[in-house]
């Protein structure tokens, strides 16, 4: 992601964008963790909060930012609404920090955590 100014260019790495996005995800209600992108032996492992940017994939092509998020959600919440809240929080936070618009935010629900069964 490159932003041009009169004096030169500002380069923002996908990794930096992933950090911003993961912070917004972890503050979204209903998210109990982020997961790595690949399933290892069919197991979904929750990443430590400090490593949560690894659950984010950022692609920038033609100045278009596309963000993929791999999340674990609390069992017993309305998943569609939680995901909707994640998308708007991530879009808002990334756009605010970068001053550039985000074309897409895709959420992959990798698993659910059951804290208490009803």
């Amino acid at each position: 992601m490159t932003i041009e100014t009169k004096l030169g260019e500002i380069e923002i790495s996908p990794n930096a964008i992933a950090r911003i996005a993961s912070q917004a995800v972890l503050e979204s209600y209903g998210v109990v963790g982020m997961a790595s992108k690949s399933f290892k032996d069919g197991l979904v492992e929750s990443l430590a909060p400090s490593a949560s940017h690894r659950g984010v994939d950022v692609h920038v092509a033609d100045r278009q930012i596309v963000i993929d998020l791999y999340v674990i959600i609390e069992y017993g919440t309305r998943i569609s609404e939680v995901v909707h809240n994640i998308v708007s929080a991530v879009k808002f936070r990334v756009e605010k920090a970068l001053g550039a618009s985000v074309a897409q935010v895709n959420v992959h629900v990798q698993g659910l955590r059951v804290s208490q069964e009803d």
Partner: protein
């Protein structure tokens, strides 16, 4: 206290009153009215996570969905009423605050499972569980959201009457 025949919503056991399903229902409808009155003020407070000023509206819509489940219910069991409200809030949750509200109702209903009535002590226990359930649903709880007011000092119940509790808590 004498109640009309057929109503056992304020059954007296010893000196302590017990709350039944219909009383709980009336309390929830009163809460909705209170929320409706102050929805605009809550909207004005909304700055997180996206400052779009819709927290009051979202909570009211969630509350409406929750109460639609019990509007015509004649059930006098607090368990049935609380579970119906929790289900309605889950299905109709709107926004972060709505999802939090649905978790508050979920925790509340869990403690009242299979109970026809609750005492002040049981209410305090249910309210505490509601708060704990709400806090479990997020990695980084942010204070100042609707999570915070659920942290009222439930452990002081039932020795301090509700009015004292409401006045002394910050919210």
């Amino acid at each position: 206290m004498t109640s009309p025949i057929g109503q056992r919503t304020h059954a007296q056991v010893g000196t302590r009153a017990l709350c039944g399903g219909q009383s709980l229902k009336h309390a929830l409808f009163a809460a909705r009215q209170w929320l409706e009155k102050h929805a605009a003020a809550v909207n004005a407070l909304n700055v997180f996570p996206v400052p779009d000023g819709d927290t009051g509206t979202n909570m009211l819509l969630t509350m409406n969905a929750a109460l639609a489940e019990i509007e015509r219910s004649p059930d006098d069991s607090v368990s049935i009423i609380a579970h119906a409200v929790a289900h309605g809030a889950l299905m109709g949750a709107r926004g972060n605050s709505g999802v939090i509200l649905s978790q508050i109702f979920r925790g509340f209903a869990r403690v009242l499972d299979n109970k026809d009535t609750f005492s002040a002590e049981e209410f305090a226990e249910a309210a505490q569980e509601a708060c704990d359930t709400a806090y479990q649903g997020v990695v980084k709880p942010v204070e100042g959201t609707i999570l915070t007011p659920s942290l009222a000092r439930w452990q002081e119940w039932p020795d301090s009457p509700p009015t004292t509790l409401m006045m002394s808590s910050k919210y």
